[in-house]
Symmetry: C2
Subunit: 307 residues, 2 copies
């Protein structure tokens, strides 16, 4: 077992070549799995299918898929189950980005350096794209005979539905919408992020162990803390963007009067908080020994990223 020491946040010299190779391999793999899962652009209705592929492919760091694959190493999850789980989580994430970018929500014209779905197509198409990507996630997870244990498969579907719905991701988004200009406590901010981004990150990890009861308690602690750390780092990067390549507008959250970990805790305490969350996540993995190595590396990757 190789427990990394508490990282210096925002450094970039912590990644081993082995981890980078694994990451690139899995990123490329999920891209091709999603490419086969999404309906071809040539199939009617062509505009909808093209827009679904535009929004879900060639996308981002695939952190959720990576967490899913890393967790699958804890219990040798079959490849087809891990692929379905990783695809389903990425499809839910992609749908949430398409809807979040729409004019009535965050009104973002750019996503990953290209026009967001409603700018490239139109609002009605973006609405249907998000709807259909969500449905596709549940279609993927309900493929007949995906898992040897059908009850475990049902459990995976239930975990994803709970994470995405009004008591999970969609609920967090609703709280976020009503929080602009409102003074939140750290606890309220954490509840909001726990729902908005944490719930799906947690689901990614739980689906990676295909909802197996024997692993759920420990990996839940890991996943919850990593999900929150992810958001704290986001807030730190929003402030420190002058000195780091962020790839999006620096200071956007602060300028839009949204409460952040930095506005509530201050920069130094926000960094300390991220480090504590990281440590708690790593400690929860102790029972798994070397099988949890990728999850540990991903925890470092998430808390030390500068993007």
């Amino acid at each position: 077992m190789n427990k990394p020491s508490a990282p210096d946040l925002l450094s970039s010299d912590f990644l081993t070549q082995d981890f980078l190779t694994w990451t690139r391999t899995k990123q490329s793999h999920i891209e091709s799995v999603l490419g086969l899962t999404l309906p071809p652009a040539s199939l009617a209705p062509q505009t909808l299918h093209s827009a679904m592929r535009y929004s879900a492919l060639d996308g981002g760091k695939r952190i959720r898929a990576l967490l899913c694959y890393a967790a699958s190493e804890l219990c040798n999850t079959e490849t087809q189950v891990a692929d379905a789980a990783a695809s389903a989580v990425e499809l839910i994430h992609a749908y949430s980005l398409v809807h979040d970018d729409m004019p009535c929500m965050d009104d973002d014209d750019l996503r990953r350096g290209k026009p967001s779905c409603h700018k490239q197509f139109d609002d009605a198409t973006a609405l249907l794209v998000g709807d259909a990507l969500q449905t596709l996630a549940f279609e993927v997870l309900s493929a007949p005979l995906l898992c040897k244990n059908a009850n475990q498969q049902i459990n995976m579907i239930n975990i994803l539905a709970k994470a995405a719905g009004s008591n999970g991701m969609a609920g967090g988004q609703a709280i976020d919408l009503s929080a602009v200009g409102v003074a939140l406590t750290q606890h309220e901010l954490e509840t909001m992020h726990q729902l908005k981004t944490g719930a799906l990150i947690q689901a990614a990890v739980l689906l990676g162990v295909h909802g197996s009861n024997e692993h759920i308690a420990a990996v839940s602690i890991y996943a919850k803390n990593i999900g929150l750390a992810f958001q704290v780092i986001d807030d730190i990067l929003d402030v420190e963007a002058d000195t780091h390549t962020l790839g999006k507008t620096a200071g956007k959250d602060a300028n839009s009067n949204k409460p952040t970990y930095v506005t509530i805790l201050g920069l130094a305490n926000a960094k300390k908080h991220a480090r504590q969350l990281y440590e708690t996540a790593i400690d929860a993995l102790a029972p798994f020994g070397d099988n949890a190595q990728r999850l540990r590396e991903l925890a470092s990757f998430i808390t030390q990223r500068s993007f």
Copy 2:
């Protein structure tokens, strides 16, 4: 077995007291099941949960739930399974109405005589309500140990996902959006309606027999034909609304330059077509004898309605 004769369309003297009592009982029952399924309005995020209840409760004729319950009589589906199936289908239907009414889609301010969700709340809330209602449908169907046969439960989830997605309801909506002002053939119009409304109506029936393979072929024929008949009657009512209480703007489809069965076939042939679809649906039920009585009555109800 009691096969009704071909109905005179748009008459209203065909409903037995027994059928009306059954209908009202089931409508009241699904309302209370949905009331318990939807998160309470007092639970955070309150606005989202209130808006979900506003949009999914006190709603319409519940044709899809009725089809589901009627189909469940073919094979004595357990009550809890029929309730989950009927709820899931109604939640998907409710989500589609909320999103369809939004300004970027059909831009309807009224739904069932009250302000549509985005008018009563706002666009962002309506977007999240639709998203969360869809997720809730899959959460309901993935309840642990819902069915004795877990593979059958997975099959139900898969049927619903396929019916709702880009090759089903959402796909039909996309085709509909692109069809305004376009001259469609009867075949193209049927494909569009088969996806937009037919797929979910078909799913309602298939979920009622909890995805049981032995019933799927026959009830699929029934459901497909009833789904199409439903739409043909809609188009006839849109034209004949002067003499019938429609409860919505008469001539709306014709005025908005949307292709309809009446514009393509003419009024007399549209009625003849509805009658043929009804007959085909009824014939498919022959193997089920008296167990299919409610499905037969619903077929009459759907093709003879004047609302």
